[in-house]
């Protein structure tokens, strides 16, 4: 998939670009609105990651322009936090999602994937983990045909780890994904540990779950062995 990163902060653009490249995207970068506008006019992109705070261009105009040339392109707006109106306007103009700075790279990836699945109507395949099956559509976990009773938070946590399998996710990344940002100050790494502990307890009552690993001092990881 082709991604255009429109971000005036060069070092941030570089980090996003190298991350997405590693995730097998074809990435191009524009540092100014003018540059972005030229690229959009010439190339077809599947995704545009757009920083709304461009010095030379109103980011919202860029969405309008791009939608004319390439209605298929998906937009994910990146902005410094707080500009609620920008978010609403952006989504009104047809942006697909919204991320506040600073964000986790894995969160960006999972948003891109979610938009892509929606757009290309990729059926959510069931995911097999040892003796467990994660049914994404029905949001249920099964073990040897029997349902495993998880709370909403436990399921969300598991699903996020599963969708980002074979990557270590830090507690902060997990916390932000599940609780969002409003409770910033109350971020408590124990939250994740407690939920993982409860999740493990429930899993192990059905079958062993060696695929859910604790990476000491870093975070948690689900290993599928696919990579």
């Amino acid at each position: 998939m082709n991604v255009l990163i429109v971000e005036d902060e060069k070092s941030l653009a570089k980090e996003i670009s190298s991350f997405l490249t590693r995730e097998n995207f074809l990435v191009e970068v524009a540092h100014t609105g003018r540059e972005a506008s030229e690229k959009i006019a010439v190339n077809l992109y599947d995704f545009v990651l757009l920083d709304l705070g461009l010095p030379d261009y109103n980011g919202l105009d860029l969405i309008k322009e791009a939608k004319k040339v390439n209605p298929e392109a998906s937009f994910i707006i990146i902005t410094a936090r707080g500009a609620v109106e920008d978010k609403v306007k952006g989504l009104d103009l047809g942006a697909d999602d919204y991320l506040a700075k600073p964000f986790a790279l894995v969160e960006l990836l999972s948003r891109i994937n979610a938009v892509a699945r929606r757009k290309f109507k990729v059926p959510d395949n069931d995911i097999q983990l040892g003796e467990f099956t994660v049914k994404i559509n029905s949001r249920r976990l099964f073990c040897k045909g029997a349902g495993v009773d998880l709370t909403k938070k436990e399921f969300d946590l598991l699903l996020y780890l599963v969708l980002n399998h074979d990557k270590v996710l830090t507690r902060q990344q997990l916390y932000e994904h599940i609780w969002g940002n409003i409770l910033d100050d109350q971020y408590d790494s124990n939250f994740i540990d407690v939920h993982i502990k409860n999740l493990r307890k429930k899993l192990n009552a059905h079958a062993p779950s060696p695929w859910l690993e604790t990476v000491r001092g870093v975070g948690y990881r689900v290993t599928t062995g696919e990579n």
């Binding site: 830090t170 409770l183 939250f191």
Partner: protein, 437 residues
Amino acid sequence: MRLKVKLALFNLLSKLAVAALLLLFMPLITERLNLRQIDNELVEKREEIISMISRVGIEPFLEPEADSSFGSYNILKEEFISLEYAAPGTEINQINVVRRLIDDEIIDYRVLSYSLTIDGKTYILEVGKSLARVRQTGRNIINIVVLFLVIVIVVTFVSDYQFTRLTLKPLYRITAKLENISSPDNFDSTRINTSTYDFRELDSSITGLMERIKGSFEKEREITYNISHELMTPLSVLRSRLENILLSGVKDPETEIKITESLKTLQRLQSLVNSLLLIARIESRQFLKEDSFPVNEILDQIMEEIKPLAEDRKIEIESSLKDNRTLERVNRSLIFSMLYNVVNNSLKNTGEGGKIRIETMSDSQNRLILTISDNGKGMDREQVSNLFMRFRNRNRNSGDGTGIGMAITKTIADFHNIQISAESEPGRGTKIIFIFF
């Protein structure tokens, strides 16, 4: 006591004092005036009689058979004249009040006694006038005056009260404007319409002052907002860079841990900046207050959220929710944060086996009272007074917090006009009290 009541009371009292003084001295004055009038009349009568005697001689006045004295009362016993012999050489000329019994009736008379010598004989002439009638007239006058005074006092009191009420109205409007606001941002700067110079001055100087305060508040917020905003981009760069290093696979576990630690530090910075931004945004009213929901709904949500953590620490969460009224026109996610911060703070400061209690009730003024109390480690007086100030309760929060959560809670409470206060004692626990609207 309100100013208009005070003024009216003073007004009334001073009028009553004047009236009382008047009523106290009026009988004395009327009595004196009356007596003087009567005395003049009596003297006139005496002169009249003396001139009559000099014209017709004294004989017609002396009754022959009765021992040569003369007395005459008019029919109503109003006046009398008497003439009788006196011891030779008696000299008398006086006026006094004499009580006489006439036909079983005691009557006070003003009597003029006068000695006169005619043909070598001495007589005493007495001219008297009853005081009953003039006293009655005096009483009638006093009654009329009392009635008049009552009417005057009532009428002027009512009109004075109305006048002060109308005149003071602008002053009450000014105080009402000040009473109804929790911060200068809510100040209504429309001028008050009044013809009283002093109130106009007062209003315009208060408004001017408020505008200046508002201006400096705004400036402060803007600075906070801009600094926080500008910090986001470098934070973002650092975070992405560190995450990239982790994700690209670090071989050395020690390096991996170090990078994670750096991310954690960065996370604290991020959450600090976010908190400052949040406060700045609330204070500059970027949040809408458009939600309505029963208070239990949000409390249930908070308890649900906190349950796994509380269970893990063997802390019991009790609730006694007696007032499930609907919160109107609030921002739901802010109210959630406000209460959640407090519950989470309790959780952090309560040891294993502790207890957190959430209570709602309505007070005598039908306000919603919400308390969140714990039996945790509590705070000393100084910590309590710093509890809601930014960065001041650092040592209280262990671990991940930035020490700004309670400041956020306070900001949200202010934004919604909710009163918040804390009670605490070291070793006994803490109680946070919210009073809604």
